[in-house]
Amino acid sequence: MKTLAVLLALAGALVLQTTLAGLMTGGRLAVNLVLVAVVYLALAYGPVTGMLAGAAGGLAQDALAGAIVGIGGLSKTLVGFLVGILGAQFIVSTALPRFVMFVSATLLHELVFQALDALLQSRGFAPQYMAVLLQAVCNGVVGVAAFLIVENGPDVLARRRMRRASFAKRRF
């Protein structure tokens, strides 16, 4: 069940990412949903799931992107593992620490990814700092929102259903 949830989360993130990127072809999409999914899974399920999700998501992303397969896999494996370890060591159950975790994970991922890409493509290492920072913040916002939706969504729905039921009883 957990494996299915992980695979579905990664596939969903990939489809959404490519679809959104297709809608703004010339620009740089300021969010990496696959990375958000990996960090989310690492925080929710621990380092092993985070690492394996990172490897699977990163490899799939590389294969779809047409880049060297493994650069994204390596960086996401590292990020998934480290976030999983940190998530198990510290209390990361409120919005602020989670946001910090998503932002730090994005910065680390971009640093590793762009360094590896520059090294393997024999290009100078020149990251676009503003774009990376913007992506980190966007990933943080999306990640925290995902946690809020998954944790509070069922409760909100149940409460709304109960309220509707009580209104119906009062009316008849």
């Binding site: 703004m24 620009g27 740089r28 300021a30 490899l59 294969a63 779809l64 060297i68 494996t77």
Partner: protein, 281 residues
């Protein structure tokens, strides 16, 4: 017996080492993991097409029935007609240029119009830093690797990697790994246009400091790369300054609006080997 922390560490090491080997294999052979890449791309292209179809459907319902009720479809038709006429105009323009040059050289070869196929953009690149798109035409439609992709406004990019049956990946000219042989229309100064992460997103390299290149000059494909059809518009010079070394510093504003690509044309002419000096002829 291994404790859990130790086992996790070993697993992490194994996964990392496996991926390092994978990356090394590709860097050494330069061939890439074609099968893995192709299978993933093929499988995912169906999902991407479905997602794109869903979005276009919703957009279509809104645009055609809710927002404009008919006016939009007429506008779309006119836009398509205009796009095809613009492509024809560019073809004629390129053909006329070519003919003049060829006549000068007493070479009487004639070239037919370019065979093209229209394709729809169904997805973008999953890596935020890379500028590629996925189109809904693939090997079943005659699309091959390195075929050029154009639009009414000019050059868009080229097909990269092996195409799937009904999908292909297109590297946009503004991608930092993209390049095209180019020359300025007025002075015929040859060089190479490359993509970059900046505004404007194109830079023209290898143009001599002695060349006469002015702001506003049109930049067109030179055809020396064997991929992009000669004479097709790339953009306009936005900045042209004397460089420190042998070459000028030139930035180019692309003529294509890359932010709103919906339909493109794939030129169904297989790439030919790059030539040396065609651009300056």
């Amino acid at each position: 017996m291994l404790d859990i922390r130790q086992r996790t560490g070993y697993l992490f090491l194994a996964v990392m080492v496996a991926q390092v080997i994978l990356v090394s294999a590709q860097v050494q052979s330069k061939s890439g993991v074609r099968i893995l890449s192709l299978v993933t791309f093929e499988a995912f292209s169906h999902l991407e097409r479905a997602a794109s179809g869903g979005i276009s459907g919703t957009r279509g319902v809104w645009d055609r029935y809710v927002a404009l009720r008919g006016l939009r479809s007429e506008n779309d038709e006119l836009k398509k007609e205009l796009a095809s006429l613009q492509v024809k105009l560019q073809e004629e323009h390129a053909l006329a240029e070519r003919t003049t040059k060829l006549q000068e050289l007493l070479d009487l070869k004639t070239e037919a119009g370019l065979p093209t196929i229209a394709a729809e953009v169904i997805a973008g690149n999953p890596n935020p830093g890379m500028r590629t798109i996925t189109i809904d035409r693939g090997s079943a439609d005659g699309v091959q690797a390195d075929m050029s992709v154009i639009g009414p406004a000019g050059v868009i990019g080229r097909v990269v990697g092996p195409p799937a049956r009904h999908a292909a990946r297109v590297q946009l000219l503004i991608d930092r790994n993209a390049a095209a042989g180019a020359l300025t229309e007025r002075a015929r100064a040859g060089g190479m246009v490359v993509g970059m992460d900046a505004d404007p997103p194109l830079r023209m390299e290898l143009v001599s400091n002695l060349a006469d290149v002015k702001v506003g000059d049109a930049v067109i494909a030179s055809g020396v790369d064997g991929i992009y059809p000669k004479g097709f518009r790339i953009g306009r010079v936005e900045r042209s300054e004397r460089g420190n070394g042998l070459y000028r510093t030139i930035t180019v504003r692309p003529s294509v609006d890359f932010s709103s690509l919906e339909e493109v044309l794939v030129v169904l002419v297989p790439p030919r080997p790059a030539t040396r000096d065609e651009g300056s002829k």
